[in-house]
Symmetry: C2
Subunit: 115 residues, 2 copies
Amino acid sequence: MATSNPSFMNGVPELLVLRLLWGREMYGYEIVQAIREETGDVVSLGEGVVYPVLHALERSGAITSERRPVGGRSRIYYALSPKGAARLTELTELWSKITGAVQQVLVGGGRAGLV
Amino acid sequence: MATSNPSFMNGVPELLVLRLLWGREMYGYEIVQAIREETGDVVSLGEGVVYPVLHALERSGAITSERRPVGGRSRIYYALSPKGAARLTELTELWSKITGAVQQVLVGGGRAGLV
DNA sequence: TTGCATACCTCGTAGTTCTAGGCATTATAC
DNA sequence: GTATAATGCCTAGAACTACGAGGTATGCAA
């Protein structure tokens, strides 16, 4: 209810997951850590965020999964499908467009500066 | 469910409204149009988004309001308070941090390019 | 007097992230 | 040997947010 922090995170999990899967296969737990590392801990998505995203992406045909036993453990590796690649392109362009438009307002306008 | 487009708009309305009010007073209807114009129609927030944001910001003390009759009509002008200015700084920094982190993932990583 | 632009407002819905848990196996530390 | 952390998967519920649809009222032009 509070006036709390807008986290600017809408759609970001899907975008990041797709981007990470672009070129190499990865499993869920690995993706969670990769996001943390590659963003320098700025973005830190829990497993409760990443796994549902993966399942939704698989349902929509954007990624495919394959269970593999590794060192006695079982991992589910995900790979980007052509559909997922298209979705990635689409989202990346949208991201660029939106952030560019916001930046325009932040920089431009009446006074100059603050950014 | 998961079909749809993430709009990347989380928290953006609050940020844009605060930024527009930085330096000049504006009224709701004017803000709606300003966002449309300054973003080149990339971001188009309806009145159903802007007015609730304004009310929430006023409740939290980030902006103050003053009703003024203009040409027979009544407008409610909003002005940024010190608290709102601080909030704007905070949000701007967070925005910069998040988008920077996402950009890092989009650009960096295994392959190069796509952005 | 019919329509359009201005100017305000609220409610309900939908879509998302997040927290907080739970389960099971393996490696590490004491 | 036994507790603890790390790996690796999962779901359910709450909380938040943007959005569309709809409502009221005034002024101005055709």
